[in-house]
Symmetry: C2
Subunit: 160 residues, 2 copies
DNA sequence: TTCAAAGAGTACCATTTTAGTGCTATTTGA
DNA sequence: TCAAATAGCACTAAAATGGTACTCTTTGAA
């Protein structure tokens, strides 16, 4: 159900490589050959990651990319946001479509809240943890806090 | 990031209607008109839900559909499983594709574990809660339990 | 000062997935 | 026996996704 696009997966791979490689600059071609991904694809992803502020780029000869901040300070949510934008879970939005039943709309907002909850949880998982460094602290999370909280049936506008 | 197909959303709407309507039988046409969805679409979805065991069907004249069990006993995970199957979060599977870097594969398994964690959480959210009945108990959940747990880099085979 | 390396930006195409529709068979109550 | 209703296929159209190509800009070094 939770479908992440391949590109987001690739982006994680790229970030993981940069994290392990340290602070030096790495060209897109370098990253591509080390990860087994295509150069154009890596190039495109690094651009997106740079725009999102997760990596910094240096143009010109001898240029390249590097992590913008330590892996501990990059969350799973950051990566996903960078690649897929602040998308919501459902499409029950579009103010022009009128739901016939009260319950219908309530359902929509419930999914929204679950989505929010999951995003919150992913904010607590760092790239560091994703890579697999042992001994990193484990954040606690309460899904129902957001899924069940009575924020009212107002917040249902977010489109995908 | 968490993308749910429209059909899954519709299915929730349909289940919500059935839950509110009580134990009587409802035809696909009835559900369609009440939810504003197309009859063929509703028909298709009810079929899938019946196969998944979330609703029971009665064939023939005066037939129809009804919830197979109380709304409290149907989880968000059930609905998603019924519509989208047991899909995993990433595609870094396919044993024929060989990851070049150790870290790369570790990343894949980390996403898998996060996925598992989220699914576990959704199992604790009932249709009842989705519909919006107040006062339902709020399950607690620990995302990092599964996301950070050292299950080892073995479990990475699940394909989408 | 010129050249080449490397990122930035844009546009495009192929593939896959998703959503929706139509038709026929089967069951079953009146 | 008829009609209401689900069951099961198969098919088509549309949208998202992934990947590629091409051109522009920046900048270090010869």
């Amino acid at each position: 159900m939770l479908r992440m696009s391949k590109l987001t997966d690739y982006a994680t791979v790229i970030l993981a490589y940069l994290a392990r490689a340290g602070g030096e600059l790495h060209t897109a071609a370098d990253v591509a050959s080390r990860t087994g991904l295509g150069v154009p694809t890596v190039s495109k992803l690094l651009k997106l990651l740079a725009q999102a502020g997760l990596v910094t780029s240096v143009r010109g000869a001898q240029g390249g990319y590097q992590l913008a901040r330590p892996a501990e300070q990059i969350s799973a949510a950051d990566v996903i946001d960078a690649l897929e934008g602040p998308v919501a879970i459902t499409a029950c939005s579009s103010a022009d479509i009128q739901c016939e039943l009260e319950s219908v709309c309530r359902v929509g907002s419930a999914w929204q809240r679950i989505n929010t909850a999951i995003r919150l949880a992913l904010k607590d998982v760092s790239l560091d943890q994703l890579i697999g460094s042992p001994g990193t602290p484990r954040p606690r999370f309460d899904l129902a806090e957001a899924a069940g909280a009575d924020t009212g049936p107002t917040a249902r506008g977010a489109s995908r």
